[in-house]
Symmetry: C2
Subunit: 383 residues, 2 copies
Amino acid sequence: LLDNADVAKVFPSDVQDRAKKLLEDVGSVGAYSHSKGAASIRQDVADFIEERDGHATDPEMIYLTAGASAGVQLLLSVVVSSSKVGIMIPIPQYPLYSAALAFNNAHAVRYELDSQHDWAVDVPGMSKIVDEERSKGVDVRACVVINPGNPTGSCLSEENIRDILKMAYEKKLIVMADEVYQTNIYKPEELPFISFRKVLKDFAKSSNEADKKIADAVELVSFHSISKGVSGECGRRGGYFELTNMSADVEAQIYKMASVNLCPSISGQIGVDMLVKPPKEGEPSYKLWKEETDAIHATLMERSRKMASKFNELEGISCGEAQGALYLFPEITLPKKALEKAKEEKREPDLYYCLRMLDATGICVVPGSGFGKMASDDGKVFL
Amino acid sequence: LLDNADVAKVFPSDVQDRAKKLLEDVGSVGAYSHSKGAASIRQDVADFIEERDGHATDPEMIYLTAGASAGVQLLLSVVVSSSKVGIMIPIPQYPLYSAALAFNNAHAVRYELDSQHDWAVDVPGMSKIVDEERSKGVDVRACVVINPGNPTGSCLSEENIRDILKMAYEKKLIVMADEVYQTNIYKPEELPFISFRKVLKDFAKSSNEADKKIADAVELVSFHSISKGVSGECGRRGGYFELTNMSADVEAQIYKMASVNLCPSISGQIGVDMLVKPPKEGEPSYKLWKEETDAIHATLMERSRKMASKFNELEGISCGEAQGALYLFPEITLPKKALEKAKEEKREPDLYYCLRMLDATGICVVPGSGFGKMASDDGKVFL
């Protein structure tokens, strides 16, 4: 077999140390782990969250998953108990949410993101929707927020997040924060990534006594993944969710559901460990890791900026500046005749446009209506 | 980096060739595959099935999954459309089934395996249960069969399988065949593993015209896994299911559900490839593979036989001979006083026995009622 010198040719010493530690803590990649995921990896996730947010967290409230999608589906299956239940989803949205809600026979309660203000969440508007839906008998229980936004590429401000949490407190909503793009931030000075959990726990420092209560009251589930960001290891199926302030009863059900699934793949779990505990400055593999992740981040940002600026040069197209995630969601004003033609063909105007583009250029794009964002009456559509 | 001579120290040439082929066909383990799983691996599964059964199959009807459990859950979620739906499960059963049915709000329609006849399926009894449940308004749609049996350790005879399929044809039931223990066969001459699919497709050769129809009529889902058998790579989360005669409408829904889950972990998929395409005689890694798998198989069989014979030496315990899977399900006759005491404590008699054993010896065993097998009136319980 290989001797130490051979191994050193491939793996720097800190990588070997990490492998040994994982082997000791987790054991074989071929055996089941704890259904929540290996304890030592959940501890590393807890350390990562504490360092990121400045608030300690409990590794028992962290569940490793086969990607964020598996976590979202598990949570929705627990929260939706009947077809009367409604879950708020942003429009435009990532289609996982509408699919999972359709599967669970639940109401998708739509709230529109504000395309005129960098796709911010219109919190008073949301609050109104909760009241309206509840008055119609819909049991609105939770609200999904995607930050950074998929497919909008927006980053929510701290103020916007604070308002959402206040509203969730008043309306007794669980907040489901999809934060899988938290490393894709393109304006770190102006719009850094701030987790919902940090903003929630910061309420405890408020001078306002009423606000203080919010910190320990709002039930929050935060999702993260190794599939996105600069990691992009989607084929390994790794991710986690963290429960904050979750009622013990509900947590017990979540644990039961996780147990039915036995455990997420161990190599996906190890992927999570790499994500939350990258090489540290001074360690032998740090330089290469830093170069590679910086280069990937720079490329993604560069592409996103270039695309946005090119979109804005085109006639009839306007596109917000890239703030984060991997996405741009350009707006296109279609001429009246195109709208008429689409109507004639009984197609959504944006789908009509996409099909015409496909025929004319061979370029395949997805209509905004696929993300739930329909054309406005004056012919504005999104792609 | 390592040169070829170094690599050859660790990996025989056929292993290197396989890795290169997988890299070429599947690409990175870090990227999503097709939602059904990588095409080349599904082709290898199809080849394996054809060689095993003597009937060709279509790789498009094979779905790779994160273990058999994930496949079972996906299938049940598609088959169960309302709380009126009933799915037949064997008693004793593997608790995944009752849990998944409870989750889907469906009826678990129980059929008892025959403990007096090596846990065979009592097909006329089953048929009667279908009629009874349907007359009560339960929409009995499918029937789960676990062969080799978990937790019974039984192997179904070809005749028994044929009768089950005939009954499924007459009663229009989907058959869900959990065949994850197909390599754990301890009496290969008397009771070899025969897949439900082979028996189903063999109906086409029948001299009876009516029986011939069965081959292309009964909807069958067959499950396999890398977690069991002599492979035991459960932490990698790999498995597959194969659809036979499935209606195109239902198959489209299954495909949609698989797509929502994106794809199973690539390393789990590669595990499936290893399972269905082990080293061939003459290849450099064959000898080691053969030695290791034979040794594991022999150890499992040896342990199972030894346990059965020891159980049968104990007073009040009787246990069927080990036929397959990893399990024995010994029967214990409890004295009258123990039954009375259990009643006093308001516990199932087998649970009472298990707790007393734990207190007295420190040995922790699971009561048969945990698998749905309750005590008989004359004090017979199972562990």
